[in-house]
Amino acid sequence: MKQTKYTLGIDVGGSYIKAVLMKYGESPALISKRVEKIRKRNPSQVSDDIINALLKQEGLSIDDLAYLASTGEGEMVKRKTGHFYSMTTHAKGAIFLVPEGKTVVDLGALYVRAIKINNEGRVLNYKMTGQCASGSGQFIENISRYLGLAIEEVGDISLSATTPELPSGICAVLAETDVINMVSRGITTPDIIKGIHLSVANRSVRLLSSLKPESPAVLTGGMALNKGMVQAMVETIADSKIDIEVIAPEDAIYAGAIGAALWGGYRYEKLQKEASAVIA
């Protein structure tokens, strides 16, 4: 039996697919990672491509994987060994990235999840958005698209706001008309963008606040890469008089995939043990 075990975690999201290759063992390590925007393509095809690309990059083949774990909408990934629920994987991923994390806020394209965890990454309590996408990353994507901004640049632009203007409604789709209205009233782009960020942050912090969160909170998911969003979270948290520190790790967007890879490793070992028990 090989000494190092490779596990691969793939997180199929609403708009991005994230995958990581990890070495699993005493102290698991992240080997390589990849993210790809789905952009109207077939997600299961994109997933396959990403998996292949990751393996190729490290000179591995699918048989070298001890476990291929999916999460998110990853039930469609054909070659997976097993699937884990997003909440479970984000919690595990967050604690891998920030070992002292006590709370996780996953800011994704469609959903926001606020999760309270213990030091093993166990989900103690959570809150999650449901039927309305008003506080989601897609909202920010739509608006930045409308304003002619790339998603990578909105963060910095948002940081330069002086008097942010909140959209009057909450709808992620109709906010476009609000934005049109704001532009026609001469509100600057940074102020509009910041307003949108604050509105998203408001919804997220509302989830968070009912959790009685503990510090520090780890931000995961794609929006954690957005500095403007992180700043908006920090401000909103302060406004709500919640006393917690916010950490946005560099690999935040991979948290789900990392968690999946780790759980995959765990299950693999458990299955091995059970199998050897049967043999014995």
């Binding site: 009057s168 409604g169 509302r206 606040s209 009912s210 009685k212 709500s240």
Partner: protein, 431 residues
């Protein structure tokens, strides 16, 4: 303009009464008076006063927190505790206020209760609310008074007997226990007489809106008028005095042919008369009122001003039959009327007050009022062929008050009334 908004004598009287009550509440430690928490619809003010206790109305605190723009923060606090976004915002506002040190709307301390008097007339949420308070104040005595609903549109002897029995065996003994005083029937009778007097005046005050132009606004101003009877002054001579004074002022306005006084000044021309169903919004009360004022809309009658008693249908407190009359009072408040009765009442208002239209302000978080309003509206529209309008807001959750949304609907509604008037006038043959 400024000189027109000068406080009338009655306003000052009211201010003094209410200020006095909050002041007394803040100083119960010194005075040793006992405090009863209870609700407006079907409240037992006269009985509480007969035991020389002080009432606290959590709803009133909530609505005033709304007017003072504090409710938004309170509600968020309560939601942190796990309260749902979907439920009655009064409850959440109250819980939030408690969490914030129970400082009342006038920034005075609201003392904790010695007795929770749960009469849940007309709304189940009251019951849940008191269960919540029961957990907040463990060990505090709770008295439950179940008011049967007028499901068949009437009060039966069995309903009355049930209530009297509860008063005798549950409510009064607990009040005696908490206050340390024996029940004094003579005192109660005296209080009931004061109530009956005040109620006579109150009816005349609201009915003054039958005049054209109406000297009062029976909704926005109406909520101030019902203040004293609804927050614990029913059964006191001060209340009677206040209403007497108010009526004098209103009669003077009628004599001068003047319209209602509003915070924006005196209403100049009465262009439309409306009957409104549903509570107002408190967080944006002035803005809300102004939308009507700006377009010359007077609300001549409303159901909300009857939550503390529908006295214009004839009920009066009666010293001759003290406990029966307290029971009947509870059973006759607006929210204890069944739907057909509510429709009849509104229909009577629309006709008797000669309204041009009927408007529903539907409160998102209040099932007690809202469930059924659409049917009431439809039925009235069909029965009376009156134009109807529908807007949505909330009592104290500012998140549910969308200015532009309400404005758009009201604008359309008023323009619709306007055009109706013009075109229908054109069509009426010249006499």
């Amino acid at each position: 303009m400024a000189q027109e908004v000068t406080k009338e004598k009655s306003m000052l009287l009211q201010k003094k009464m209410i200020g006095g009550l909050f002041d007394e509440l803040a100083h119960v430690k010194e005075s040793g008076k006992k405090v009863v928490y209870t609700f407006v619809p079907g409240n037992l003010s006269e009985l509480i006063r007969a035991f020389d206790m002080l009432p606290v109305y959590p709803e009133i605190n909530a609505l005033q927190s709304g007017m003072k723009k504090r409710s938004g923060g309170f509600i968020k606090e309560a939601e942190k505790l796990g309260h749902s976004e979907d439920v009655c915002t009064y409850v959440k506002c109250d819980v939030g206020m408690f969490l914030n040190g129970n400082k009342g709307p006038a920034d005075t301390q609201i003392p904790p209760p010695d007795l929770l008097l749960l009469s849940y007339t007309g709304c189940f949420t009251f019951m849940k609310w008191f269960e919540t308070l029961d957990r907040i104040y463990p060990g505090v005595e709770v008295a439950m008074l179940h008011t049967p609903y007028q499901e068949d549109g009437k009060i039966t002897p069995e309903m009355r007997a049930y209530m009297v029995k509860q008063l005798k065996e549950e409510v009064i003994p607990k009040m005696e226990k908490v206050s340390g005083k024996k029940f004094d029937e003579a005192k109660l009778k005296e209080n009931l007489q004061h109530s009956a007097d005040a109620e006579d005046y109150l009816v005349q005050i609201f009915e003054s809106a039958k005049h054209k132009p109406s000297p009062i606004d029976g909704y926005f101003a109406g909520v101030y008028y019902i203040g004293p009877v609804n927050i614990g002054f029913r059964g006191t001579p001060e209340a009677t005095e206040y209403y007497k004074q108010l009526l004098i002022e209103i009669k003077e306005r009628i004599r001068l042919g003047k319209g209602p006084v509003t915070p924006e000044g005196e209403m100049k021309k009465e262009r439309f008369r409306l009957v409104v169903e549903g509570p107002p919004n408190w967080t944006n009360f002035r803005e809300f009122w102004k939308m009507f004022y700006d377009l010359g809309v007077v609300i001549v009658a409303s159901s909300y001003t009857k939550v503390g008693g529908v006295f214009d249908l004839g009920f009066r407190h009666n010293p001759e039959k003290p406990l029966e009359s307290l029971s009947d009072y509870c059973m006759t408040v607006y929210t204890n009327h069944n739907l057909p009765q509510r429709i009849d009442l509104l229909s009577k208002y629309i006709k008797e007050y000669q309204a041009d239209g009927f408007l529903v302000n539907s409160i998102k978080s209040c099932n007690s009022f809202s469930a059924g309003q659409l049917m009431m509206m439809r039925t009235l529209e069909e029965r009376l062929e009156v134009p109807v309008g529908f807007i949505e807001s909330d009592l104290v959750d500012p998140r549910y008050f969308s200015f532009s949304n309400i404005k758009n609907r009201l604008d359309s509604f008023f323009q619709m009334l306007e055009q109706r008037k013009i075109i229908l006038n054109q069509k009426t043959p010249v006499a």
